[in-house]
């Protein structure tokens, strides 16, 4: 459309031969025709909206009453927008610095391996992925259920590797039986026991299908008597599959509970501890004579560890920043890597000749020489972080949305998402504009200098 417009207006050879002043004026008209379509769109859809928004920000929600700077003070009074201002501040302080640091370290390290190009490609690729898709990717990864979210699956398996899982989260003792429950969730024997005794500790509540595969019947072990000086017993599931059996007694078909922790306590101090065998039996030997209480510590019955609530109110912003790192680290690394490649080789070589180690070279030469590039990366990221919208909008689940909100999402919510206060929304937009200005001025000046 534009092309034909310009073509028709192009000079025809016959007219071009006219008087001296005419071609100059014609030249101006042609120039304006070249620039006009772009200028028209910019004027109507960018310049006018900026002026409109600035004006609108001084009016109330309905747009009829002039309120002066009230929307701007409201911003810092209203808890929701204040939260957005705070969160944006957290983003600006944390994300660009982290990204620049990470990009620098990776850019230096990647030069040391032969597959540098492949690595750079891999890390840069998320730049092609939309924030929406990245948001969905990380909603999946951050899922709280360790059977769905890969991050919690990893956290839980690491946790369980170090802490161990509790064997019987559903296990408990019958009210008024041999065992009583303490406030911390542990069980202890009501009657005391002494070396030479043999005790049976009944538990219930464990579904037979949850019994470990190696669990064996407790009856034979329960029938064995303690040798002198030995305090022994069984921990068993006081439930006969298919019915029958007697409460509080080890019946022939009842199973032992392996790997239960048992402690012998005397005068409030734990003096010995052991875990049960496959048939639920345990034994303490070498105890001094006296009376003991046997305890099944709470760790036997602890609820399984569920991992971290990544998208809960406390962690949601760091979690979203994590997703942001996934997208932008490659950008920081490649840009810094380009700066690195342009460094004078002789400075580095000279330092190596002088016996400087890699860390000294990095700290004293590479980083100072890279400072201009690092600043550019940092400033660019500040601009982008200020405007972050989609990631927060997608990753933060509905109820947590207000804990994660940033300026751009808040502006959206206030103007269109039910808030319906376009005065305040415009003021938020203007604030965003004002925040971007200094960073942008810096970046454009740098860019123009680099083009010269």
């Amino acid at each position: 459309m534009t092309a034909t417009l310009v073509k028709e207006a192009g000079p025809s050879p016959a007219r071009a031969a006219a008087r001296d002043r005419r071609p100059r004026r014609r030249g101006r008209i042609i120039a304006l025709l070249f620039a006009f379509p772009a200028l028209l769109l910019l004027g109507a859809l960018v310049v006018y909206p900026v002026l409109f928004s600035i004006g609108r920000s001084f009016f109330d929600a309905s747009g009829t009453r002039f309120v002066g700077g009230e929307n701007y003070t409201e911003m810092f009074r209203d808890p929701a927008t204040l939260k957005a201002v705070r969160n944006t501040a957290v983003w600006v302080v944390v994300a660009p610095a982290l990204l620049t640091g990470l990009g620098l370290v990776l850019a230096v390290l990647v030069e040391k391996v032969r597959w540098a190009t492949a690595f750079k490609l891999l890390l840069f690729m998320p730049m092609a992925v939309s924030f929406l898709a990245a948001g969905i990717i990380f909603r999946l990864a951050y899922d709280e259920d360790p059977d769905k979210g890969v991050l919690n699956a990893a956290v839980v398996s690491v946790h369980d590797a170090f802490q161990g899982t509790s064997p019987y989260p559903e296990g408990r003792a019958r009210e008024g039986g041999t065992l009583t429950r303490d406030a911390d969730g542990s069980y202890r024997t009501r009657a005391s026991a002494a070396p030479g005794d043999s005790v049976a500790l009944p538990l219930v509540g464990v579904p037979p299908k949850d019994l470990p595969a190696d669990a064996r019947a407790a009856h034979p072990a329960a029938a064995r008597r303690a040798v002198p000086g030995e305090l022994r017993g069984v921990v068993y599931l006081d439930f006969t599959p298919g019915g029958g059996g007697e409460q509080g007694r080890v019946d022939p078909r009842e199973s032992g509970l392996p790997r239960t922790k048992v402690e012998a306590v005397r005068d409030g101090r734990t003096v010995a501890s052991t875990t049960t065998a496959a048939d639920g039996s345990f034994s303490f030997s070498g105890l001094t004579a006296g009376s003991y209480t046997l305890t099944l510590p709470a760790s036997n019955f602890a609820q399984p560890y569920d991992g971290v609530s990544w998208l809960g109110p406390a962690l949601v912003t760091p979690a979203i920043i994590g997703a942001y790192l996934w997208i932008w680290t490659g950008f920081a690394m490649v840009l810094i890597g380009a700066g690195l490649a342009a460094l004078p080789r002789d400075a580095l070589e000279a330092a190596r000749m002088d016996g400087a180690n890699e860390w000294q070279i990095f700290r004293r030469i590479t980083v100072p020489l890279l400072a201009p590039v690092l600043t550019v990366v940092f400033v660019t990221l500040v601009i982008n972080v200020l405007k972050v919208f989609d990631l927060v909008y997608i990753i933060a689940p509905g109820p947590v949305q207000e804990d994660a909100t940033v300026l751009a999402t808040q502006m959206w919510l206030v103007s269109f998402g039910g808030g319906n206060n376009q005065g305040l929304g415009s003021a938020l937009g203007v604030l965003l504009l004002l925040l971007v200005v200094p960073a942008m001025v810096f970046n454009v000046r740098r860019f123009r200098r680099s083009q010269r």
Binding site: A44, V113, L121, M125, S130, L433
Partner: protein, 279 residues
């Protein structure tokens, strides 16, 4: 001794970078594998269980997605928004960039500075006023409306980039062409555009990517018949959890196009993103 230590250090670096690479691949692999599993399997366990039971994998979700007319419509809308936007931005910015670089008109440099100043304007500030304007013009909710908005907000950077690139051309070359009696239009199409091809390519790729991936602008300006894939998918995110068999293949479909562009045009892509980051 030193060599041994360096070798050892290198080994540590390799291991570290492999770990970082794994961290980068895992979320994406998670999305892809999730997109190949049925809703029932997803409810039962994580995507990593496919390594033990590869029988879970099938393309059923994708066939369901392609049979869903809402989603295919959204995919075509994405194409219909991003391709014209890219073409328009490149053409209009090339015309204006040439005028600002080589044609003479009063106030040229001041106007150009004004255009560069518009780089600071965040998209957010335009949403409300342009929505009102489009409402009056009958463009609100339509694909042309979305395209126009994108073009306008893509122009400051595009004009800035191309003007600076064109200005680098040797003056003698243009003057020679003018002496030969070539019209400005001829010079523009026969000389400036071919010389500027690398910058045009980088700009086009950057712009395409930007619009293809946009959600915010379309969220406001596109109604349900004009909405692109990003908007169609975000409405599904509200019920996140029960509909991963729709979301995962949808997200994968939306990201496979830009990722393919990335691998096909690596050099231009990186240059475009680098230059575009000023934005």
């Amino acid at each position: 001794m030193n060599a041994v230590r360096r070798g050892l250090g290198n080994g540590v670096v390799q291991v570290l970078l492999v770990l970082v690479g794994l961290i980068w691949v895992t979320p994406l692999a998670g999305l892809f594998l999730s997109s190949l599993r049925s809703a029932q399997d997803t409810a039962k366990g994580g995507w990593w269980t496919v390594f033990a039971a590869p029988g879970q994998l099938s393309f059923d979700n994708y066939s369901a997605l392609l049979a869903n007319s809402g989603m295919t419509q959204a995919f075509w809308n994405t194409v219909l928004i991003s391709v014209p936007t890219t073409v328009l931005v490149v053409v209009l910015a090339a015309l204006a960039g040439y005028a600002f670089a080589w044609l003479d008109f009063p106030g040229r440099d001041a106007v150009f500075l004004g255009v560069v100043a518009l780089l600071v304007v965040p998209v957010q500030i335009g949403l409300l006023p342009v929505a009102r304007l489009f409402g009056q013009l009958g463009l609100f909710g339509t694909i042309p409306g979305v395209v126009l908005f994108h073009v306008a907000y893509g122009l400051p950077f595009a004009v800035f980039l191309l003007r600076d690139y064109f200005a680098e051309m040797p003056k003698e070359m243009l003057e020679a062409a003018r002496m030969d009696g070539g019209s400005e239009w001829r010079i523009f199409t026969r000389l400036v555009l071919p010389v500027g091809r690398p910058a045009l390519a980088s700009l086009a790729i950057f712009q395409f990517l930007w619009v293809w991936n946009d959600m915010l602008v379309a969220l406001l300006f596109a109604d349900s018949s004009a909405q692109p894939l990003t908007v169609a998918l975000q409405s599904q995110v509200r019920q996140f959890g029960s509909n991963i068999d729709v979301l995962a293949p949808g997200a994968f479909l939306s990201l496979i196009v830009p990722v393919a562009v990335f691998f096909a045009f690596q050099r231009h892509f990186v240059q475009g993103v680098m230059a575009g980051s000023v934005k």
